[in-house]
Structure formats: C-alpha cells, structure tokens
Symmetry: C2
Subunit: 346 residues, 2 copies
C-alpha cells in the first residue's frame, strides 16, 4: 500500500471538511428561521462554525471510496455525523460543566444553560431531518439503512456517557481496564470511528463482510483514539482547545488514572481517590498537580500510550486483512489516519 505523508492526510481531511461544512452551513442549518428564533439558529450554527478536525466526515467519505462507492453520495451522511457530534458536545459540555470548547467558551457559558440544552435538542432533530433528506440521494431503503446505523450509534454513545457519568456520581473505584474498554467503546469508538466508516460503506452498497471488517477496525481504533484524547487532555495544548486537565477536574476514570491507581502505594492511592472524589469546584490547583505528578512517577501516560499503539496495530491488521474492492488510495488514507489517531497532538 502506498505510504502517505501527514501533510497529505491533513490536506485530504481539510478537503472533505470544506465540502461537508458547505452542506451543513448552507443547506442543513438555515442562517435564520424567522426573527423570533434568530438566536436559536445562531446557537445551532455556533459549534459547527468553530475550527475542528472533521475526522468523522473524513472517515465516512474515505471508507465509502475504499468500498467502491461515489464520495458525493456520502456527503450528506457525513454532514449528519458532524451534526451528531455538535449536538452531543453541547449536551456533554453541560453534563461535564466544561468551560471551553475548541478554544472558546462552551455554548451554555456563552449564552445560558436552558437555551443551550434546547439548542442541542433542536440540532439533534435537524440531524434526523437531514437523514430523512438522504432518501433523495440513496432511495428509501438506503436512507433507512443509514438511519438504523445512526439509531444504534446514538444508543451506544448515550449508554457510554451514562456509564462514565454514573461512575463519577457513585464514586465508583471498583473498576478495571475491561470496564474502561466497555465504556470507551460505547462512548467514543462507535460514533468516532466504527460507524463513520460503516456508514461510508453502507452508502457504497457494501455487504455485511465489509461492515464487520470496519466494525473491527473502528472499535479498536476508536478506543485508541480516546486514550490519546485522555493523554492530550492532561496537557491541554492550545490547538486541543479544551481546558488543561479538565478530565481530572471532572473526575473521569481514564485508562491513565486506572493505571496510576493500580500501581500506586496504598497512601498514594488513598490521596488520589480523595482528590478525584472531590466536587469539581473543590479541587485545587495543588490537587491537580499532585495527580499529574503521580501519573508521571508511575509512568501511567506512557503505559496508556503503549496500549493505544497496540490497539492501533490490531486495527490496522483488520484493515489490511480485508480485500478492499474500491479505491486503493482511500485504503491508504484510512491506514494513515489510524497512525495519526494515536500520534496526534490536537
């Protein structure tokens, strides 16, 4: 398979993002819906207008090509994946009490919590409306097939989000790595990698074997992607766009944290749990520094990164062992994306 440079991958991601942004901002989200709801539409267009990688549309379009489909037919489906990402981020930010999203105040901080919650629902409904418009592109059966994948991915994501939130709420610490993998597969891997790829293949008219191969690739790579996200969250570089160490403030049970807990001394473990169990606004800067230094001493970030790389390698094996019928360059792009997912700094 031809090797692709990081610049080539990013160029391709940008190209797809530009097409999909056009669909979202020009066709799916009207600039205004009448004077009485002008602000609602402004709020719905807010996250979609912020800088983003657009990796889900990229995966959808690229998998469509790899499965032998026409990428133009995948653009509306790809746009719906972005709408999904936007409404669920609006709600996640409320649930997590996050302050920053893509370098700007979160929607509920910028406006008001009730209006933001409702704007998320409005955007969720717009997503299904756009999926219905897919009938014109894919016919009734194709549109329904795509919607069934969306129904499944929203179920998985809300289940994963429930698991993560309830672990914090119930102060659960009897968790091992397998719990993290189940939660993370549900919360992230389906909607970030597995379903975007599968949706591209569905648009291409691919059969069950292709969908199974992409599920295998996507769930492994999706977990690897989340582990790298957990690592980036600790550092909080500017390009990443979220507040530094937000996950520690939120008490999130990451693979990094579970490793540190497992390898810490009894006294360190006690102090770590006591800090993580504090409410967000009770955690001091000193608390955060203690957790970060413990991660550093125990080598927890390196451990998690090794796991992410191993998952990525497994994911690539799934990809390579499948006989792709479509565009070879597209398969190379998926491979290149897999490496990016665990090496990225944003």
């Amino acid at each position: 398979m031809p090797l692709l440079s990081s610049a080539e991958l990013q160029g391709e991601m940008k190209r797809v993002k530009a097409s999909v942004d056009g669909v979202i901002l020009d066709e799916l989200l009207p600039a205004r819906g009448g004077p009485e709801v002008e602000l609602l539409y402004k709020m719905m267009r807010d996250y979609p207008s912020r800088p983003a990688k657009g990796l889900r549309p990229f995966l959808c379009v690229t998998a469509c090509r790899a499965a032998g489909g026409d990428e133009r037919k995948a653009l509306l489906t790809a746009a719906c994946l972005e709408l999904f990402q936007h409404w669920i981020l609006i709600h996640d930010d409320i649930e997590d009490r996050s302050e920053l999203r893509r370098g700007e105040p979160t929607l509920h901080r910028k406006y008001d919590e009730a209006l933001a919650l409702n704007a998320g629902d409005a955007l969720h409904a717009r997503m299904w409306g756009a999926l219905l418009a897919n009938e014109e592109v894919l016919g009734p059966h194709g549109a329904l097939r795509v919607m069934k994948e969306f129904s499944m991915l929203v179920n998985e994501t809300t289940e994963g989000q429930h698991m993560e939130l309830s672990w914090v709420r119930d102060r659960r610490w009897d968790l091992d790595e397998s719990d993290y993998y189940v939660m993370c597969t549900k919360k992230t891997a389906w909607y970030t990698v597995a379903s975007p790829c599968r949706l591209g293949a569905i648009v291409a008219g691919a059969g069950e074997d292709t969908l199974e191969a992409l599920k295998d690739f996507g769930l492994k790579l999706g977990v690897a992607f989340q582990i790298q996200d957990d690592a980036l969250n600790l550092v909080g570089e500017k390009a990443y766009g979220k507040a530094k160490s937000d996950d520690i403030l939120e008490g999130k049970r990451t693979l990094i944290l579970l490793h540190a807990l497992r390898s810490a001394s009894a006294e360190q473990r006690r102090r770590l749990v006591a800090i993580m169990d504090k409410d967000r606004d009770k955690k001091t800067q000193q608390d955060v520094e203690y957790v970060l230094s413990l991660f550093s001493k125990r080598g927890s970030v390196e451990y998690a990164r090794r796991k992410a790389k191993a998952l990525m390698t497994d994911a690539l094996e799934s990809l390579d062992s499948y006989r792709w019928r479509g565009d070879e360059d597209a398969v190379a792009l998926l491979e290149s994306f897999a490496r990016f997912a665990v090496e990225r700094r944003w």
Copy 2:
C-alpha cells in the same frame, strides 16, 4: 353526530393508553440493557411509568379511525408520540428547574441533572429507533412519511421552547397576544394535537385534504389546550401533578399574564413586571399571592378561558366541516375530546 359522555371519552382514552403503554414498556424500552447501564434504563422508564392522560396516543389512534384506518397500525406511531413527550419533559424540567412532575420529583431532582439530561437524549434516540421499526408496520414509504411529520414537530416544539425561554432570559415585555399564539402554536399545539391527529391520518393513508383539516383543527385546539393548562397551573390541584403556580415562579408569559399586564394600572404593571423579572429562587410566597390576586382582580383567567373556548369552537367547526370517510364514533370522540381540552381539571 352522537353525543358522548365524559366517562365514555375517559374510558376510551384509558383503553388506548393501556395498549400504547404495553408497546412502550414491553417492546420499546427494555427493562435493562446490561448491568452497567441498568440505571439508565430505569431512568428512561421512569416518566413512562407515571400516571398520565395519554392524550396524544388517543388522538393519533382516534384520528386514524376517523380517517378510515386500522387502529392497530397506529399503535407504534402513537407510542412514539409518548416517547417524544417523555424525553422533552425530562429536558423541559431541567430547563425550567421544575421540582414536580406528575406528583413526584422531576427526574433530575430524583437522580442527578447530568444523568437526566443524558437519559432524555437516550430516550430521544429510542424514539427514532421505534420510528424506524415502523417500516415493518407501514412499509418504507409509510415509515418515512411518519418520520417527516416527527421531524417537523420536533423542530416546531424546540423553536417554541426557545421563544418561551428567551423571553424570560431577555426580560422581554414588548409582547402581545399574537406573540403568545405564535409561541404556543410552536411549543404546544403541533405536538399535542395537530401532529398526533395528522399522524393517525397518515397511518390511515389519508390525503393532503384530511391532513390540512386536521392541522387546522389541531393548531386551534392545541392553543386552547395550552391556555387551559396555564389556568390549571395557577391552581395546581393534586390531579394536575405540578407545583402550584410554577409558571409564575418560572416567569412564563401566559395569555393570562399578558391580559393582566395590559389591563393593570401603571403602578400594578410596574410591580407585576418587577416580580416576574426576579429569579425563580428570589420570588417569595407574597410575590406569588400578589400576582394571583391581580389576575383575580383583572379577570385575567376568565378572559383567557373565553379565548380558549372560542378557539375550541373554531376547531370544532374545522372538524365538522370536513367530510370524514372513516368511523363516525371516532369523529364523535375527537369532538368530545375538544370539549374536554378546555373544560378539564387535570
């Protein structure tokens, strides 16, 4: 048209509700989705398990019969209307900071706000999943047609909710009755009466003329229904299940309030606005009593009730002027329901 007693109407509503509850609790919402998400499913089943009138399923099933359809084909669609009502109530209760729903603590009070917000999203997704399962009942074209009506009704409802919330947030008082009617048509009338009736007719395979007649009937009656709801909210009887005068605490711009404002003296008006502009937790019992006594002095509740009755009479004219092709008893039930909507005490 045969006249129906209130007991006959309520018996019929109960009969339909029992069938639809069976679909929701036995088929659409599994009792558990695995141990790690047991609480999520418990939360999703919470509002559907509380006592309720089930008026939207009743309207859907009855309109289906009036349009000559088979009610069994409408049960899944009717169940989806209930799922809609449940997820949007979960979110409304968070947005409005409500304490009680159907006589029990609201879901976010009973558990936690983040978990409840997410459970609302999960239920929203389950609604679309159930609408997809409608393909088995109605075929692909019928299922898609039903989903298009749902897409429209969710858009209208979220727009109406945005209007109401933003009026409070922005301390808007430059509102007249026509603003209330626009907001209320969007927030309530579509999803409570117009779309339930239209969905029944769509299931029956009715044409555009039937859908137009039901839109006209439903939007007028839906606004009348909301006006009666606003009046009941002030009293807060036990059967009604919400906290007394919650709308005053929330600062809602009801037709009753707009009438009182318009007919009050300058001094009364100033005091009324000052009270309504206070944050929910700053409003005293004395404040609420002042508002209620002003409503009483100005005859605002009676005024609003007269408006509701006039709307109901117009709605009945729309219903009666249409030549129904289906079950005559079903048309009589819709007529009887219209009277109930403005006379009910719960």
